[in-house]
């Protein structure tokens, strides 16, 4: 038994090494690789995927699980070893449902489809992307069939991002959010111009401020990096090797919010218990939990008045030209202004949810076959106007704006909004346990906040299910009410425009 456990850990350690090596290939590709490296990098990623997949589905795991099940069952539910056997067995069973040929075909199709999407978006031409997307949807349906029987086809896709979550649960949460967010947008949307928000903000200074913020949130540069890329992301190559990426434009300050967002992902993965290092538990437990952290630090903290009471003087000192004469309240209002806008990633906190709800609905219909790929742009444009009240001028500002569908990431979008909702539940809990939380933030002190999150969420990694992790952190399931209350309060109490 002890020998089996050692072998299991050794095999899972190697799998972790392989996955992190793949992550380095991908990180380097978008951050530092010269363009001429593209063909060989594609081959390297393909070979590594094949090798990793073979290790993931190895029959030997099955024998080890048989041997280890009684031992795992004898341990407390929260023991590291019990969790390791439980989670690894679930991962293995799931991976083995998918034939290698389908996995490889999908990986290849996704890479090709992504390339097609990049070109189609540039040309704002959905027709050029349509055949690729049809192939991707078809391959996703084949994937879903590997998991038959199921209640809802979309559940199968969700399981990859949010294990245990059901489509029906999300529908319920979103059915509360949809009318409420529409009403808030209708009431508060503004077309007021904030010219001081267009800079100029020299990029080197933005980068320096981004580093100050990441550091203030608790990161340490001997274990973190922050680099430039086109589509920002975070990746952990080890508990002591966390890579954040961001992007910069001289005419806005989005980079600061991006840095806080990616820092949230990074300090989550950085905070996993060292006892789980080099195991499949050494990660954030789900996309929703991950997004709850990125959006907590970016929005709930990073767009709050206490936060800017602390950081705004620093910002004014750095950019005296555009901001020297702008009062804090004006800046804070501009950073929180509700706008009807076309692009999700630029959306404010309030209208953001409507962008997600649209995608969630369309994804379900595409996957079920109720909506054909050919009819997708029309459906997008009609629903978007219903939800947001403005009319989509072209595909680039509409159905082609996100990368997620091009590589088959159906099921991810709803976790953005679930994470946003959860971030406010967590915030509410923290205000109870840290009574002077806002005063701390006003002084630029994030230590106790970070420590609470680390102890109650980050350290757990993937030991528990997402639902168990949420229950432990906030004492109940995902609940949209605190989020709506938070938005309402923020929008009511801020100084009038």
């Amino acid at each position: 038994m002890e020998q089996a456990l050692t072998e299991l850990k050794e095999r899972l350690g190697k799998l972790t090494d392989l996955r992190r090596t793949q992550a380095l290939l991908a990180w380097d590709m978008t951050v530092f690789m010269p363009p001429g490296g593209a063909p060989t990098r594609a081959a390297q990623l393909g070979t590594m995927e094949e090798i990793t997949h073979a290790h993931v589905v190895d029959d030997r795991f099955g024998e080890l699980f048989v041997e280890l099940e009684p031992y795992a069952a004898s341990l407390p539910h929260d023991s590291d070893d019990a969790a390791l056997v439980r989670v690894a067995q679930r991962d293995w069973n799931r991976a083995r449902r998918v034939p290698a040929a389908l996995a490889v075909e999908f990986a290849k199709a996704a890479a090709e489809s992504y390339e097609m999407w990049v070109k189609a978006r540039e040309a704002s031409d959905f027709a050029a992307f349509r055949p690729s997307l049809e192939r991707i949807v078809d391959l996703r349906r084949q994937y879903i069939e590997c998991f038959a029987p199921y209640d809802d086809a979309y559940d199968v896709l969700l399981e990859d991002y949010e294990p245990g979550m059901r489509t029906s649960e999300i529908r319920e949460v979103f059915s509360v959010l949809t009318p409420a967010l529409r009403a808030l947008v209708a009431e508060h949307a503004s077309e007021e111009d904030d010219p001081f928000m267009r800079g100029p903000f020299p990029i080197a200074a933005q980068e320096a401020l981004s580093r100050e913020l990441v550091e203030a949130f608790g990161a340490s540069w001997d274990q973190f990096r922050l680099d430039k890329t086109v589509h920002p992301f975070e990746v952990a190559l080890g508990l002591g090797d966390i890579r954040l990426t961001s992007r910069y434009a001289e005419d806005d300050l989005l980079s600061l919010f991006t840095a806080m967002h990616e820092a949230g992902h990074g300090i989550y993965e950085w905070g996993v218990s060292p006892t789980l290092e080099r195991t499949p538990l050494c990660e954030g437990v789900s996309a929703t939990l991950h997004e709850s952290q990125s959006r907590l630090w970016e929005n709930v903290v990073g767009r709050s008045l206490p936060f800017w009471r602390w950081f705004y003087p620093r910002l004014q000192e750095t950019f005296p030209g555009p901001l020297g004469d702008v009062p804090l309240d004006d800046f804070h209002r501009a950073a929180n202004r509700v706008r009807r806008s076309f692009i999700r990633v630029d959306a404010d906190e309030t209208s953001y949810g409507l962008h997600i709800i649209l995608r969630f609905e369309l994804e379900q219909e595409l996957i079920s076959g109720r909506l054909s790929v050919a009819d997708l742009p029309d459906a997008w444009n009609t629903r978007f106007e219903e939800l947001m009240g403005i009319s989509v001028p072209n595909d680039a500002l509409g159905v082609l704006q996100d990368a997620h569908w091009s590589d088959g990431g159906f099921g991810y979008f709803p976790t953005y909004l679930l994470g946003t909702v959860l971030s406010v539940q967590i915030w509410k809990r923290m205000r109870d346990v840290i009574p002077d939380l806002e005063e701390q933030i006003e002084r630029g002190e994030f230590g106790p906040l970070h420590a609470w999150l680390r102890e109650n969420i980050y350290a757990l990694g993937r030991k528990f299910t997402p639902a168990e992790t949420i229950e432990r952190a906030v004492g109940g399931p995902i609940d949209p009410q605190p989020y709506l209350a938070y938005l309402g309060e923020k929008l009511e109490t801020r100084a009038p425009a």
Copy 2:
């Protein structure tokens, strides 16, 4: 047969992917990884080595070679397919002589020994490094025994860097060089100070000039990178993904010569025929050929008077403080001054060879057992004084200065000097085929030089043996006389100090 060839290429393609992935892990480790990534990176490198090794020695290759031998024999010697089967079979046979356990133990010991060496060198304390080096020497002897019978134990180690080269051949070349280089150093060594060579030279400007030089030699930034590291090196992650590294100090201009040196390695690997991409032939053929290119561009080109006639005005314009009033001849003399010095990597073109000869002699004695590790520092100090005429003050400036022994790289050192010798043979050949070569360089034109090297050396990759490659390039074997003539001429004709 055709099927076997396809399978062979597919397997070798995957092997190339794995090796390049390992190279990325290593490159990132020394260039961008935060220090906190060290433990997980070691694990990743270990796992990848194990997986790559298993692929390298796979039995299936043996079956494929049996099937393909008649086909390969039916092709002309210089066909790509014939070369692929021939070289892959030689690599496979060689790799299979070494038991996996020994290979893994050696990789682990080398990593640990390298760490010990870093600390020992910092403390200038050979005793702290001695046990590690003893283990490494012992493991290298076990490795050698895997290839018994052999003429000379050192031949086995050489084979990894310079396939086909015999220790006796190197001894012969070095026996000519030793007295000649000692005499040149005795005659020309100087203690003259060149204060203008100590700058200050701001680092950003050195980096910009380094990029100009790499570009002038023909590299294209959409397929190259140049980054900072502690111990500069070059690595090819694909024919279109060449990574150079360099280092900078404000009080010298060594970075420019390092950039030219690494550019030489880089454009060699960049120039391999695209028909050999993603095969084991897509590399420089040997360490000597590689060094011949780095040292050709760094020294034969980069320390020549024609080169500085072109580039010195640019240097003066960039660093007017230290260099504005220094005549070209004075600068060129300083950049070529012969000095008796302790550190190999800082040595001038003439005394450099003596540093190598010392190491070559000591390596053979360590491997044969005629010299014990315990007696190594004394042997170093005695021989060094005989060769260079100065007395070694401590281990950091003596036996501990190089990383090569710490990770078991015995057999590499002689290729530095062989490559230097060869670089002058190649240069001589090029002066014959490009009559106005020096005039071109004086105009900053490197295109025809680069094109000749690409066609006659770079494009071949590993298709032929090193000896065949040298024969094709210069019409005969390695010959020390052109190198000695070149040094003599350079030292005689330069303006007196």
